[in-house]
Amino acid sequence: MANLSIAQIEKKANEIRKDIIKMLLAAGSGHSAGPLGMADIFAAFYFAILNHDPHKPFWPERDRLILSNGHICPVRYAAMAEAGYFPVAELKTLRRLGSRLQGHPERLRLPGMETTSGPLGSGLAQAAGYAYAARMDGGRFRVYCVTSDGEHQEGNHWEAVAFAGKYNLANLTAIVDRNNIQIDGFTEDVMPLEPLVEKYKAFNWHVIEIDGHNIQEIIDAVNEARAVYENPTVIIAHTIPGKGVSFMENKFEWHGKPPNPEEAKIALEELRKGAKAE
């Protein structure tokens, strides 16, 4: 990957957001808020952080990015397409019969999709198993796991937090999409997660908190995690669900629905203006 400037990565994030709106409109179902909120993080990963080659998705030395909360897969599909894994035009097949872009992502259908996910709380354990196995063989690549905040209500997730902490999986970095919403409302109303920082620290993790829309902060946090040799690292990324589209921002109503044609038009206009303003 050619080195892109922060401004260029921000432009990629904007393209990813537009892709998300277009693909959700074409699909007629899917999740809006989460994918939009994670566009900056996925742009940072695919255009600055990951050691990867879109033309060699099975390259053994590649960094692994495990997506635990599979429902935000539109943002990953868009980032992968923009990075060159497959044509951007294919994004419009999302959720269609025969598409490689399933409603929830499947490893066996799309090269570069590192695992199958959707049911929540199981991604970190898979990433931890991956990191443990790689360390057994002296593997040099890093394992990243993107998780939602809501799925921290799952027991399976905390089992994995304990496992990674016990075994000092320093090659593992988790990214928490701390957007404060889930399907039934705000996380702290549905089932409180705080104090999240202290909880991870208690399990022997190195904890970093960042603004999940600041590309530089995202890259810096991952670099800091690389320098920690004793513990796994969790990056708690504060994000705005629906980021970039004013009427979707911070609205949990937009967790699980796509825009209609009129809403999509307004959203795309806002994103075009936003890009110009930058």
Binding site: R107, T115, P119, A125, G129, A133, N156
Partner: protein, 331 residues
């Protein structure tokens, strides 16, 4: 009479036949699998001794991973390791794995089609004094319904060891169930074993019924066949150790030559081997059937033999089932 091609133990019907639990075969098989392939790893959820994973742990400590009492993590961590390239065996009691972590197995192992071998120890009512919570009787149904999954119920120590070694070679998800209680070691190293292929253990010149069994109860089926033979009732006994994929050719052939089938398993009568055989025969060659197994109820504390007798899974119950099916056949 005994099928000589099955090369069963010469001591099969002797009183001093050796008795060992099939879970021991799992432990011994793990060591062999580990010697053959350096990618084999074993994960355990705080049951290292009783699942016999300890044999692997002692031989390959660096390839043994303790995950604590966390069966969902057991399955999902193993999925991650298999995704990387390892061949993980996950050890627990069947009541917890696949009992508690079924969805994790479905999404992260089966849908991903990863080579994780799920070892469910303490399957069946013969778990005994521990009672209903620990007597897993629904595991075959749970796992058989899952695409990409192979399901094996070995009949004795030696077959359990072979199944464990072979499972490591499949490159796909496998579920193997093991028993807690000691049971007769009645096969031999030379007994044929191939995943997906049923073996005729007892044959007759003109069999009137076929007994299709899996797990340690295959031995009860053999005892039943011997008793029936004395009474002039000729049967076949088929060891259908692989419940999925079922050896449909062998089962349809048995139904055609006998016209009556009795299935035997230490599992609920719904959804297990009996269900699998019924599905195949209903579609291809319907014949009268009896299903011997746990009669759609939970178990309780007791001695293993007492429980098998109370819930109707002993040789005498199989004999009664054969008589019933022959009556139905004659109607």
């Amino acid at each position: 009479m005994l099928n000589t091609k099955a090369r069963l133990s010469k001591k099969i019907f002797q009183k001093d036949i050796e008795k060992v639990a099939t879970r021991q075969g799992y432990g011994e098989g793990l060591v062999v699998a580990g010697e053959k392939n350096a990618n084999v790893v074993v994960l355990c959820a705080d049951l290292t001794e009783s699942t016999r994973s300890i044999l692997f742990k002692e031989r390959f400590p660096e390839r043994f991973i303790e995950v604590g009492v966390a069966e969902q993590a057991l399955a999902t961590i193993a999925a991650g390791m298999a995704n990387y390239g390892k061949i993980p065996f996950i050890s627990s009691y069947a009541a917890f794995s696949p009992g508690r972590n079924w969805e994790q197995i479905r999404t992260t192992i089966a849908l991903n089609d990863l080579p994780v071998i799920i070892a469910g120890a303490h399957a069946g009512v013969s778990v005994g004094p521990d009672g209903a919570t620990h007597q897993m009787l629904e595991d075959i149904a749970l796992m058989r319904a899952m695409p990409n999954m192979t399901v094996i119920a070995p009949c004795d120590l030696i077959e359990a060891k072979k199944a464990t070694v072979e499972a490591a070679k499949t490159q796909h998800p496998v579920y193997i169930r093991f028993a807690r209680e000691k049971s007769p070691v009645f096969t031999s190293e030379k007994t044929p074993f191939k995943i997906g292929r049923a073996e005729v253990f007892w044959e007759s010149k003109s069999p009137q019924a076929a007994i299709i069994a899996c797990g340690p109860l295959v031995y009860e089926a053999m005892l039943a066949a011997k008793e029936l033979d004395k009474k002039g009732i000729e049967v076949l006994v088929i060891n259908s150790h692989t419940v999925k994929p079922l050896d449909t050719r062998a089962i349809i052939h048995a139904a055609k030559i006998t016209g009556a089938v009795v299935t035997v398993e230490e599992h609920q009568v719904t959804g297990g081997l009996g269900g699998a055989v019924a599905e195949v025969l209903a579609k291809n060659f319907p014949v009268p059937m009896e299903i011997v197994g746990m009669p759609d109820c939970f178990g309780e504390s007791g001695a293993p033999d007492e429980l098998l007798a109370k819930y109707g899974m002993k040789a005498k119950d199989i004999i009664e089932a054969v008589k019933r099916v022959l009556t139905k056949k004659a109607e």
